[in-house]
């Protein structure tokens, strides 16, 4: 299984521990990641709010690069996933929009043909690799670890586009179970982390994150597992902000799913990766670090 590896902006800028874990875990499961050259920003919802044509063209340019490589895109970020998947779907379904976008893309020598698919790491792990193969690769399962998964809004919604792809967030629950950990149900699991309002309305972003954390805490879990760098920042660094503003502590370490899987497959996290987590991991994962 070869995929065009689309990293987006946030991960190379700030969250390389997610990238490092993925580069260690996916090839070991038979997924080859081929770097994409010359990609641009996927145009997430903030840019989509500005202008439709710009969004379409920017996202489509990345799709063209993958088409030239002849490979499906694999992305690690929910927002990149949502943007690229939606544009890919719309351009495949609506020839009039495709023609307009290709007109813009001709400026940079690209043409969208609609020959590839866009997948999130969760899609690839669940559909292509499969839970059974992952269970086999897990040598040190996390027995007894109670996890709250944060699938994130853009992994599973809008359902009419994502439905075939990820079967709601049940896929992520099963993947977590494959590592030996328990995925605990909590109220309003599909609720947003608050991230999109960062920079626009920090106060509400914080309050939404806080609502999310309250629901997670009430479920009695030990840590949170995310698959999106935005959710990760919002819930990890966000807890420090919430401590400052609301004087409340949740002490819920946040892990990238790739990190959880990496440890379950017998690899240890490096010091710098452990330190990059703002809520310390050692209370919950002592002995595994």
């Amino acid at each position: 299984m070869k995929h065009a590896f689309y990293l987006g902006c946030l991960i190379p800028a700030r969250e390389f521990s997610y990238e490092v874990s993925v580069r260690k875990v996916l090839p070991a499961l038979g997924v080859e990641l081929v770097n994409m050259e010359g990609t641009n920003c996927c145009a997430p919802f903030s840019i989509q709010s500005l202008d439709y044509a710009s969004w379409m063209a920017l996202a489509a340019r990345n799709l063209c690069i993958a088409e030239e490589m002849g490979l499906d895109i694999l992305t690690l970020c929910n927002d990149c996933y949502e943007s690229l998947l939606m544009v890919n779907t719309i351009l495949k379904e609506k020839p009039e929009v495709k023609d307009q976008v290709n007109e813009v893309l001709s400026e940079v020598g690209k043409e969208f043909k609609g020959t590839i698919d866009v997948k999130h790491m969760v899609d690839v792990l669940y559909d292509d690799v499969g839970v059974d193969k992952i269970k086999d690769a897990v040598s040190e399962p996390f027995k007894g670890l109670k996890v709250a998964t944060q699938p994130g809004c853009h992994l599973t919604k809008p359902k009419r586009i994502h439905f075939g792809a990820v079967r709601g967030f049940r896929a992520l629950d099963e993947l977590v179970r494959a590592t030996g950990a328990e995925s605990i149900e909590y109220d309003r699991k599909e609720m947003c982390c608050g991230g999109p309002l960062r920079g626009v309305n920090d106060e509400f972003a914080r309050q939404v994150a806080r609502l999310k954390l309250i629901n997670i805490k009430n479920a009695g879990v030990q840590c949170i597992v995310t698959v999106c760098p935005f959710c990760y920042v919002e819930l990890d660094l966000g807890q420090l902000e919430i401590k400052r503003h609301f004087k409340e502590e949740y002490n819920l370490p946040v892990l990238h799913f790739a990190e959880l899987l990496r440890m379950a497959m017998g690899m240890k996290l490096e010091d710098w990766e452990i330190k990059s987590h703002k809520i310390p991991l050692n209370q919950v994962l002592k002995g595994r670090l």
Binding site: K159, R160, F163, G168, E185, D187, R188, E190, N218
Partner: protein, 433 residues
């Protein structure tokens, strides 16, 4: 020459009506019913709107007429497996599933069930109560004989031992019966949309979120609680009950629910709300709706009485989600009252989901066997939606009741269509299709 017989598939009120209409004309009727007893959905209901008649009380006499009529042959616990031929001369293979009980000997005394050690969730009670592996589906069942659910039977043989009539026969084999009929009527009725497909309403996770059919069983004196309306979670009497309309109906999302309006949910919600208030006079009852569809005879008046005499609150809002308190099991409903325009939440002891009515889940297979067309929802297609509403797309095969779709629905309509289909069959027999 002997008149050709008729096959009627489905022993609900619609099929029963058609059977009686035809039988009384001297026409031989084979009434095939998949479950152990005829009666269908109406037998499960507590009361019917807007007259609030006891449902089984008006149904049972018709069921008994069917059983005793010399021209009606009941083939219960049976399924149609193959149909060949054409109008005037269909050859039908019916599989009579073994009930492991001799129908001619069983007196319906029920002593076997008293002794049976195996307990299984009771489908007739929408799985809210239990039945035994050898069971009478409900007290007024026709035919009044028990059935052995072999899948859950422990094969202990106790029933055989205690049966005074020596009616139990655990070696009984399925029987294939061949019928020669001139025409067929399909009257298979409906199933309910499964609300667990909408996870945010909590059906399946929260015990006190139930469907309207489950509520009917709780209200019904022959139900799992003897007609006492209690919360499934803790058995306490609910003091606040919410009804949510359009669960799976009027849903254009495509990946869930159906776009049509099921046409009777507003009616049955108001009926059930009134029944709830009669059972628990100090209960706070609210109906959350998008539109209130109160058409037809007597219904708007009934709705007005529900508001003024029974104090039922009508809130124009489609709720977003339901959350259960893990300790008290109280259900919090989030909604925006579009009249006052305030987003709020309200706690309820019990939430009733008025789920959409969908075609019986196995009707698509039956349609294949019969060679008739169904629409995108699985409802049977009429050969002429306006001019031939009870004819299917195969001449000689007619249909009646909810299997034709939601333009019908409440009991009088199903009875009317049963008679209409019977009348069409009479034309076949008279030689004109």
């Amino acid at each position: 020459m002997e008149q050709p017989a008729v096959l009627i598939i489905g022993g609900g009120i619609s099929g029963i009506q058609a059977s009686l209409d035809l039988a009384s004309r001297g026409i031989k009727v084979y009434l095939v019913e998949k479950s152990p007893s005829i009666g269908g959905r109406m037998a499960q209901l507590d009361k019917t709107f807007p007259t609030m008649d006891c449902s089984i009380c008006i149904l049972a006499p018709k069921m008994i007429d069917c059983a005793h009529h010399p021209n009606v042959q009941l083939l219960t616990y049976s399924e149609v497996k193959e149909v060949k031929g054409a109008v005037g001369n269909f050859v039908v293979k019916v599989l009579k599933k073994p009930r492991y009980v001799d129908e001619t000997k069983c007196t319906g005394c029920g002593i076997c069930a008293d002794h049976c050690p195996a307990e299984v969730p009771n489908e007739f009670d929408e799985k809210l109560g239990m039945r035994k592996a050898i069971y009478m589906p409900f007290p007024q069942a026709v035919p009044r004989v028990v059935t052995v659910d072999k899948e859950n039977c422990l094969e202990c043989g106790l029933c055989e031992k205690v049966c005074g009539a020596k009616a139990v026969n655990l070696e009984q084999q399925p029987e294939e019966i061949e019928l020669n009929v001139g025409s067929i009527i399909v009257a298979t009725g409906f199933d309910l949309f499964d609300p667990s497909e909408i996870p945010v309403y909590g059906y399946g996770r929260y015990k006190d979120v139930i469907t309207a059919m489950e509520l009917e069983r709780l209200l019904c004196a022959s139900g799992p609680t003897g007609g006492h309306l209690i919360r499934p979670s803790d058995g306490k009497i609910p003091k606040s009950i919410a009804f949510i309309q359009c669960v799976g109906s009027r849903d254009r999302r495509g990946w869930i629910g159906n776009a049509y309006c099921s046409s009777i949910c507003c009616k049955y919600a108001v009926k059930d709300a009134v029944l709830v208030r009669e059972h628990i006079p100090d209960a706070r009852v609210s109906i959350f709706y998008i539109d209130l569809r109160a058409f037809g005879r007597g219904f708007q008046e009934f709705l007005n009485r529900a508001k003024t005499e029974y104090g039922i609150r009508f809130v124009r809002s489609s709720p977003g989600e339901i959350v259960e308190d893990p300790v008290t099991k109280s259900l919090t409903l989030w909604y925006e009252d579009t009249a006052t325009r305030s987003i709020q939440n309200l706690m309820f002891d019990l939430v009733v989901l008025c789920a959409a009515l969908i075609p019986r889940r196995d009707v698509k297979d039956l349609a294949k066997v019969l060679g008739i067309e169904v629409d995108q929802y699985g409802f049977l297609k009429a050969s002429g939606a306006i001019t031939h509403p009870v004819d299917t797309t195969v001449p000689g095969i007619f249909a009646s009741g909810y299997c034709l779709g939601p333009k019908t629905g409440d009991v009088p309509d199903s009875i009317m269509q049963g008679s209409a289909a019977a009348s069409r069959v009479a034309e076949v027999i008279a030689g004109r299709v």
